[in-house]
């Protein structure tokens, strides 16, 4: 498959495309280690970061990726914008594109918002998290971190623990890892398991100790406190006791099993303090790798957009020439 001019999700993406993103990110990683952390690759490209939901890591990570590629970027957050005056997503996006923006990075509470924009706009759209659907750049950076540690995905097992039902991180990880042939087990309170999640090619396990048996990595999902208020689980204490990742649980996993968390962490709830800061934790590596992965995404997506534009122009020119001949 050829490179797409959007990155909307990892579902349905071929192994070849996934590897292209990961390999490109590997080349970009070194740029952040240079004295001058900037290359002129996306000079002249304008990116708008549309964040309709709060975010620290993802927003800063995208911004840094854009700056290190020499793109110009503008930031938008829902609070303090015309959204509070009732402007629709469509109008907001079309207005921003009317100012000749080449690429839109969007985080939105509604699943499918990036797909809606992609169908509407001429520019590229990158999904920075949509509702409980997908968070493809997080999925890619998790895969990048795993491959960096492992060397290859072959014969590996990943356990995703927590609120799988509401997690876009889980969904992107599942689609990407299953495509690469990784054994994926999901584990968490039955109230927080999506129905028929097996259809994604994963195994559901309700006993955490059993789930992590032989695991090469555990991806710990953030538990949102609102879910407890909604009655999905009895108390935070109980959640920590039954589903929390601590050194005791890790004893059942592979000796060199690594622990990941997309952040922000609830220390002492889904992840024990000593595990979060322990030698198996790769949580800060994930953050470092996030910038490289997002640089790769922006680079490849803008390349595909330039290619499409070139083809349209050639077609238009041919049509014009055809007319002249006629």
């Amino acid at each position: 498959m050829t490179q797409s001019r959007h990155l909307l999700g990892l579902e349905g993406m071929s192994a070849e495309d996934l590897i292209r993103y990961l390999d490109t990110a590997e080349s970009f990683k070194e740029i952040s280690e240079r004295p001058v952390k900037k290359v002129p690759a996306l000079r002249g490209i304008t990116v708008a970061n549309l964040f309709f939901e709060p975010s620290t890591r993802t927003r800063i990570s995208f911004e840094l990726a854009e700056k290190r590629l020499s793109a110009d970027s503008v930031n938008f957050s829902a609070s303090g914008s015309s959204v509070s005056k009732g402007e629709t997503l469509r109008d907001t996006a079309e207005n921003i594109e009317a100012m000749k923006v080449d690429m839109i990075v969007i985080r939105h509470g509604a699943s499918g918002a990036p797909h809606f924009l992609a169908s509407l706009l001429d520019g590229s759209v990158v999904n920075a998290g949509d509702g409980s659907h997908e968070h493809p750049t997080q999925g890619l950076l998790d895969m990048f971190t795993l491959r960096e540690r492992w060397g290859s995905f072959e014969g590996k097992k990943v356990v995703i623990v927590g609120d799988v039902a509401h997690s876009r991180v889980a969904r992107s990880n599942i689609h990407g890892l299953v495509t690469m042939g990784v054994e994926v087990v999901v584990c968490g309170p039955p109230t927080l398991m999506p129905p028929e999640v097996e259809r994604f090619g994963v195994r559901v396990e309700t006993d955490l100790k059993k789930a992590v048996e032989g695991a090469d990595a555990i991806n710990v999902l953030r538990i949102q406190r609102e879910r407890q208020k909604a009655g999905m689980f009895p108390s935070l204490d109980e959640y920590a006791r039954v589903w929390g990742i601590n050194t005791d649980v890790l004893k059942n996993a592979q000796k060199n099993c690594i622990v990941m968390h997309p952040g922000p962490m609830n220390r002492g709830i889904e992840i024990a303090q000593d595990v979060a800061d322990g030698e198996r934790s790769v949580i800060l590596d994930q953050v470092t790798n996030g910038v490289a992965v997002r640089m790769a995404v922006l680079y490849l997506v803008s390349g595909a957009a330039a290619l499409e534009l070139g083809e349209t122009q050639t077609a238009e020119q041919k049509a014009r020439e055809g007319k002249q001949v006629a």
Binding site: Q3, T24, A304, L307
Partner: protein, 209 residues
Amino acid sequence: MPADAAPDTTRDHRRRPHEVRMKKEDHAGIHYKATLMDRDQIRRAVKRIAHEIVERNGGVDGIVVVGIRRRGVPLAQRIAEYIEQNEGQPIPVGALDITLYRDDFQRITRHPHVGKTDIKEDITDKVIVLVDDVLFTGRTIRAALDELIDYGRPRKIQLAVLVDRGHREFPIKADYVGKNVPTSENELVDVQLAEIDGEDEVLLAEKQS
């Protein structure tokens, strides 16, 4: 041997005029017409460049050899090895990928593959010997200079190439040249190196319209 094989354009009279080996098949409008350098000639040229580098710089202190991806990298490694053999001192080697610094970036459609730049040495106050296989328009070297300067402030940057084929578009000149080959604009110089292509050979080809 094809009837239209070009005569040997090189001035190396010691070389036996030989047939074009047709291991490289003509393809997609590219016709291979002559071998410009064989394995021995490449080896001698690279060895000579290694000697010249040491001679011109009065030793090996502060020299870092940096190859431009892809085929400049194995050449840089070979140069460093020869210098080490002769001077008994290891020379740091780096690799530069100039893709992100290209000046035609907005004009080429599909963004090309990005390789890794790998410079471990602090290049400030060092003598950098940039190495590439073919020197043509000079645009690659312009990009490489820009990238290098983002890494530090070298005392000097020198340029070594295996083949200089002319047609410069920028004021750039090589300090060390393996072989000067006058070419026409629609010809191609194809450098094959064992580390990448399985064997050492420099071929002259022609684009056929």
